[in-house]
């Protein structure tokens, strides 16, 4: 992906509603060039496309998924291969979750492929599942079924869901196919958050997003296959952990869950990656000494010392606890970075493999998988990059990561290394960041997010090419922003300016660059009024109806739905005293993520009386837009309304054209 494509993709992902002109202005390039690149980016997407309607860029949620995957390099180059794998996985899920009579015909109807294709898929699946001790059987009366120990079937089910959730649009695919409704997902999410609070842990953002989907599908399996089953965890008495009763309490509302099912659900929560924990793990002494040994062996093998070794140990402990659970229970972990990491950091991987085998061998049922070792190695490598040096940085940034501690830690240290001018405050989950009061200059994030802070999307693993491109993106951002430019210049010559004058120098430079920036068309007024935006109502209107009447033309233009009006009314009727845009000019509105703003100025020829007994004749109904494109117009209207005699003149106008003329300052 060339740098311009990367920048365009980044802008579309972060803002979604930009016009081609705005992108061109932002990237200081020609509109035609942007259009050409957008078409090329769109062509590379396997299914979705970027639409450009009247110069506005429009992307669907699925398109966002694909754009993100293309940005971070996860997009399968062979979409046909992807489709085949997806279908095979979905067939397995179908057989595991739904207790229907599945035949070649029903499966062929379900997946829109021929019976021959399903037959060859089933042949492949039989072989594949045999290795997992699971069997695909076919009986005329039962159809196709996957049989084997329930524990292994459920583990495979969770593994399949996890794999699908990692793909570009696996989530939407699972939600559609298994009728997972939003209420169920948010109910389970709330339960997980209550569990987090009660047992004082914090799961990673990824887990809190994925577990509700996994558990929803798992609940369907339990409900559809109500057979008796049992399993035994030799090493740990899960029932007697502090966590189990809490988890059990949260899920007791599902009457079909037996004790063994609740135990199984608990295992998934206990083996989920976490970023904070206030609790000690069962047998923590044994683990603590193993972690000590692990660190000592690493130091010997890599011939280094770790800075802040106690913090390093806590980080390893936090990760190792659920990892041990996963190992003991035979849960596989997905780590899409495994191959790339081993290729690029083979010696670290080998050292961690050696140290973990020696240190955790007595606790584990079997050796850690390569995926787990890579997660551990990422924490180790991240720490190896960390230094005690004081920062000479003058910009501040945070790294926000969806995937948990190991990915974010390595990414953070890589970014620190790449951008010595930036002080990285730390790596956080999105949920942690929301609760913190941080105001960095930049956010480096692994998934798209909305923020008024400059946001840069980065792949979780930085390969040489992505590093090169990222450096260019950041340097361009630094050179474009007046505040950052001023900050950088003052920092560079700080020794030549007395300390008490540095802030002033920065301000003067910022104002200088601001003036330059204001010349750019992106700052011009983006909404203009036409006669269509003006209504004149001659008939009497009640206070209760005035908002509905003011918004009616906007509804007719289909800029909003009725639920927006209901929201506006509920806010306006309790806060009307503050919702003004001029003396006795009301401004009903609500916060909404609309792609374009709309406005309607209503003149009530017969005054409307508010509950305080004051009458008014103008109301401005507003649908705001995410990037505040409506603000310059509001400011202009406020100036007009504050001009002496202007409101009276507007009310006295005989035509919408005259009103428009006065509103335009004529």
């Amino acid at each position: 992906m060339i740098i311009l494509d990367r920048e365009i993709t980044n802008l579309i992902l972060v803002q979604k509603h930009l016009s081609v002109e705005e992108i061109a202005n932002h990237l200081s390039t020609e509109k035609d060039r942007v259009l050409e690149r957008i078409h090329l980016i769109s062509e590379q997407l396997p299914h979705e496309s970027i639409e450009v309607v009247n110069g506005e860029v429009k992307v669907s949620e699925k398109c966002v998924d694909e754009l993100y995957a293309s940005l971070v390099g996860n997009l399968s180059s062979n979409s046909n291969e992807y489709e085949v794998d997806l279908r095979k996985n979905l067939i397995k899920l179908e057989l595991i979750v739904r207790n229907n009579h599945h035949t070649l015909q029903t499966l062929s109807d379900l997946f829109y492929v021929s019976k021959n294709t399903v037959f060859s898929d089933m042949k492949y699946l039989k072989e594949e599942l045999k290795n997992l001790n699971l069997h695909v059987t076919y009986l005329r009366k039962d159809g196709y079924q996957i049989n084997g120990p329930e524990y292994l079937i459920r583990n495979h089910l969770v593994q399949l869901i996890n794999e699908l959730l990692k793909t570009a649009y696996g989530r939407s695919c699972l939600i559609d196919r298994f009728d997972i409704n939003k209420e169920m997902v948010s109910r389970i999410k709330q339960k997980l958050e209550s569990i987090e609070e009660e047992i004082m842990i914090r799961l990673t953002d990824e887990q809190i997003e994925n577990l509700p989907i996994i558990l929803s599908i798992l609940l369907q399996r339990v409900q559809n296959f109500p057979r008796a089953w049992s399993f035994k965890v030799e090493r740990y008495d899960i029932r007697n952990t502090l966590e189990f009763p809490v988890i059990k309490k949260q899920f007791r509302e599902f009457p079909f869950l037996k004790d063994v099912d609740l135990l199984y659900l608990s295992l998934h929560i206990l083996s989920s990656n976490r970023i904070e924990s206030a609790l000690d793990f069962a047998d923590s002494e044994e683990i603590s000494s193993s972690v000590n040994q692990f660190i000592t062996l690493l130091k010997e093998k890599l011939a280094i010392d770790f800075v802040k070794e106690t913090d390093f140990k806590s980080k390893i402990m936090l990760h190792i606890q659920p990892a041990i659970f996963r190992n003991i229970l035979g849960f596989r972990v997905n780590n899409p970075l495994t191959e790339r990491f081993i290729k690029e950091h083979y010696y670290v991987f080998k050292a961690v493999t050696h140290a973990s085998r020696k240190s955790f061998g007595t606790i584990l049922e079997h050796d850690f998988s390569d995926e787990e070792i890579v997660y551990l190695s990422m924490i180790v490598l991240g720490w190896m990059y960390q230094t005690d040096e004081d920062s000479s940085a003058y910009y501040k940034a945070v790294v926000l990561c969806f995937n948990g501690t190991s990915v974010s830690k390595l990414l953070l240290e890589n970014l620190k290394d790449m951008f010595p001018d930036i002080e990285f405050i730390g790596a956080f989950s999105f949920r942690q960041f929301e609760q913190m009061n941080l105001e960095p200059d930049f956010i480096f994030t692994t998934v798209p997010m909305k923020s008024r802070i400059t946001t840069i999307i980065v792949p979780p693993f930085l390969e040489p090419d992505s590093r090169k491109q990222l450096r260019k993106v950041v340097s361009k951002l630094l050179s474009q922003d007046p505040k950052r430019k001023a900050k950088g210049i003052v920092f560079a010559i700080k020794d030549l300016i007395p300390e008490d004058k540095r802030e002033l120098a920065e301000l003067a430079l910022k104002s200088f660059f601001d003036k330059e920036e204001e010349k750019r068309p992106i700052y011009r007024e983006r909404i203009s009024l036409t006669e269509e935006n003006i209504s004149v109502i001659d008939s009497p209107v009640s206070w209760e109806n005035c908002v509905d009447i003011a918004f009616k033309p906007i509804i007719n233009r289909k800029s909003i739905e009725n639920d927006y009006i209901d929201k506006c009314k509920s806010i306006f009727y309790s806060n009307y005293r503050q919702m003004l845009i001029g003396p006795e000019v009301y401004l009903p509105h609500a916060a909404v993520s609309k792609e374009s703003a709309d406005i309607q100025i209503t003149i009530f020829k017969r005054a409307v009386t508010n509950p305080d007994g004051h009458s008014f004749k103008i109301m401005v109904a507003l649908v705001p837009e995410k990037t505040n494109a409506h603000v310059p117009l509001l400011l202009k209207l406020n100036d007009v309304f504050l001009e002496r005699g202007r409101i009276e003149a507007i009310i006295a106008c005989k035509s919408r054209k005259d009103i428009l003329n006065l509103l335009e300052g004529g």
């Binding site: 301000l507 003004l580 845009i581 001029g582 003396p583 509105h589 609500a590 916060a591 603000v631």
Partner: protein
């Protein structure tokens, strides 16, 4: 640099307009300050770093910094007095 925070219920229209207006006034008077519009829910978080609070809704508690009446900027009534208070607070 001194900071002015403007807060209203949603942070999307009224506070944005007042913030733009305050920025314009400060720029005309050649006073440098950062002006930011936020929704009322974010106020407690962000006000710690601010020097002046321009309130659109009636403040429910004292924040220990000069607090101005934001409605005056929209209606023009009492605006001069609020502008004076603003300038005094930023000097």
């Amino acid at each position: 640099m001194k900071r002015v925070i403007v807060a209203c219920g949603s942070g999307v229209a009224t506070s944005q307009t007042v913030a733009s207006k305050v920025k314009r006034i400060l720029s005309e008077k050649k006073i440098s300050a950062e002006v930011e519009a936020v929704d009322i829910k974010s106020l407690d978080h962000l006000i710690k770093h601010c020097d002046v609070y321009v309130a659109i809704t009636k403040p429910k508690k004292a924040y220990g910094i000069p607090t101005l009446n934001g409605i005056a900027f929209l209606t023009g009534m009492g605006m001069d007095a609020e502008v004076e208070k603003l300038i005094a607070a930023l000097k």
